[in-house]
């Protein structure tokens, strides 16, 4: 059963046309002309209950705009959207009761009050019964390690502490749906790890459906089974993480540690084989990018070891980050005239 169904979602922003030159400001003020920016351009997808989906894309791809439509903040220009049987912006308050939202860039907590006050207010707003509030507060305090700063005003918390507070606030009423918009942005390695394990735990234990946008692909590789990749408002890819790699980076890499033969290192030409190219070279270390369909790994290894002495070998799968970098680069190239 899909919990989210988005069908051909479009969101356009209208900006008054701007004029330069003398009196340009005045002309801008009275012009009826608009420039239209299509931030989301016909996005369709469904998300099943209990899924943990990574929603990816470069800056300005339309990720946040989609999230804002899902949460009911923005009204789409056209298209259909149903979240747990509701159209979010039409029945905003009902929808709000069922979703948790965390924006990495903006805290939802009460800035001047101790963290515990924010949590208490959230409990009231979402009508959490006293006993369940107590139980969840204890549980999340322990899971996220909030104990040390529950009494500290939010404005004095570090970014990592604040994000943990935001996560606790979003889960306190156990919503079936959780939207996380760049929840790990600006966090250090340890804090990121903590966020990730909490997100995974919530998804596993509560069956919470989670949509996660992020620029940190390690988040996605560790947490998500499925990726929706959008660019310029359109869905570029929707499917398992693994298949994204196969589709956009069908190669693998063989890392070869060469042994200098009588002080001489073999030249790159030595590896001139069909379906193989030298991706990188650092002295005696060579990265060979090969297409497993043209040349299976065992045959490549046999060929390489036959041609020169080798002290170490390793086969590396492309990292998601590398794959995505490749996609971005392709797009940049396509956009540059």
């Amino acid at each position: 059963m899909p919990i989210i169904t988005a069908d051909n979602l479009v969101k356009e922003f209208r900006l008054p046309k701007r004029y330069g030159g003398p009196l340009g400001g005045l002309r801008t003020l009275f012009t009826p002309a608009y420039t239209v920016k299509r931030a989301v351009d016909g996005v369709s997808f469904t998300v099943d209950e209990g899924e943990l989906v990574g929603y990816l894309g470069p800056n300005g791809a339309g990720k946040s705009t989609t999230i804002k439509m899902l949460t009911g903040i923005l009204v789409p220009t056209s298209g259909m959207l149903e979240v747990a049987g509701l159209v979010p912006w039409e029945r905003r308050e009902e929808n709000a009761l069922r979703i948790g939202v965390v924006f990495g860039q903006r805290s939802q907590l009460w800035w001047d009050l101790p963290l515990i006050d924010s949590l208490r207010l959230v409990g009231k707003l979402y009508r959490v019964p006293a006993e369940r509030y107590r139980r969840n507060l204890d549980r999340f305090t322990e899971l996220l390690g909030l104990g040390a700063f529950l009494q500290t005003p939010v404005r004095q918390l570090s970014l990592g502490q604040r994000m943990r507070g935001d996560l606790a606030a979003a889960m306190l009423y156990e919503p079936p749906l959780l939207y996380l918009d760049e929840p790990t942005v600006g966090l250090d390695v340890l804090a990121k790890e903590r966020m990730r394990s909490f997100i995974a735990e919530v998804n596993r234990e509560h069956g919470t459906t989670i949509i996660l946008t992020t620029h940190d692909l390690a988040d996605v590789e560790k947490l998500c089974r499925r990726i929706i990749f959008i660019d310029q408002g359109k869905v570029l890819y929707d499917g398992p993480v693994q298949r994204l790699k196969e589709q956009f980076a069908p190669w693998r890499e063989l890392v070869v540690q060469l042994v200098p033969d009588g002080g001489e290192l073999p030249p790159d030409e030595l590896f001139d084989l069909p379906g193989v190219e030298v991706a990188r070279r650092e002295g005696a270390k060579v990265w060979l990018r090969f297409d497993p369909k043209l040349i299976p790994a065992p045959r490549l290894i046999a060929q390489v070891t036959a041609r020169c002495p080798v002290s170490d070998l390793a086969i590396v799968e492309p990292e998601l980050a590398g794959v995505v970098r490749g996609i971005y680069a392709e797009r940049e190239a396509a956009l540059t005239p």
Binding site: E93, V101, D117, L125
Partner: protein, 266 residues
């Protein structure tokens, strides 16, 4: 009822948050009182020279002024946060009100109280009671009930204009100038008997902008001066209702316009 409880909790939290900045809090209250006292002082100076304005004596003018000030205090204490409307819409702060299970306007109202405006309220009530003795208002129970309704209606009328104006923020992002203009107009004209203005101006301040319903018409009723009005006394009696109608309309417009909210960043 659950909604009222939640609003109360939010308002208390807002008050606690403001107490974090104690000096600002106290200075704010003091400044509010001083500001309003100066406002009345101006009229008092005029009156001490001319003894009456449009046939209204010092006591009557003070009563009118007290009525306006109290109504003003009643709207401005809870609705002070509307001042930040442009900022909230432009910077995307408004997002947070849309993802919580409570009417966004109720959340805005309860996110900050303007305690300084309590000065208006206190000043207004003091002025009103002192002046009502001097102006010789006949306080029958009906008159008292009418007074209370009129104060609420006046607060609603002024709030309606500001809410309607705030609704424009969703489209135009910058409405500070207009809002200040409205506030200033109420401040400057609201404290005088409107009969001293030309007919066109009176019509404007009655039917286009409901300023007359805030203080002038109710004061005329309570002071037994309905004979001099350009409108039927019935209209003056119905002043509280007019405030309510304006308020409901403005609230609707605001909610409807909130669909145009564009947030910030994409």
């Amino acid at each position: 009822m659950a909604t009222a409880g939640i609003c109360w909790d939010l308002a208390k939290a807002a008050l606690r948050a403001q107490m974090e900045y104690r000096a600002n809090f106290l200075v704010g209250i003091l400044a509010g009182v001083v500001w309003q006292v100066t406002g009345f002082f101006t009229i008092w100076v005029i009156l001490s020279r001319f003894h009456s304005i449009g046939g209204w004596t010092l006591g009557e003018i003070a009563f009118l002024y007290g009525l306006r000030l109290t109504a003003h205090g009643l709207w401005v204490v809870p609705f002070a946060r509307l001042i930040d409307m442009d900022y909230m819409v432009r910077e995307g702060e408004f997002d947070r009100f849309l993802i919580r299970p409570l009417n966004p306007m109720l959340q805005i109202i309860t996110s900050r109280l303007r305690i300084a405006a309590l000065g208006d309220l206190v000043g207004g009530v003091v002025l009103l009671s002192a002046a009502s003795a001097k102006a010789g208002v006949d306080w029958s129970p009906v008159a008292l009930v009418y007074l209370i309704l009129v104060l609420i209606g006046g607060a609603l009328a002024e709030a309606a204009l500001q809410i309607g104006c705030a609704a424009l923020s969703f489209r135009f992002l910058d409405t500070g100038g207009l809002r200040f203009l409205i506030d200033d107009a109420f401040n400057k004209f609201g404290g005088y008997p409107l009969k001293i203005f030309s007919g066109g101006m009176q019509f404007f301040l009655t039917w286009i902008v409901p300023m007359a319903f805030v203080a002038y018409l109710p004061a005329a009723v309570l002071l037994g001066r309905t004979g001099e009005l350009r409108v039927s006394p019935v209209v003056a009696y119905l002043a509280p209702l007019v405030g309510l109608i304006w308020f409901v309309a403005a609230w609707r417009i605001w909610s409807w316009q909130s669909r145009n909210y564009q947030s910030s960043g994409h």
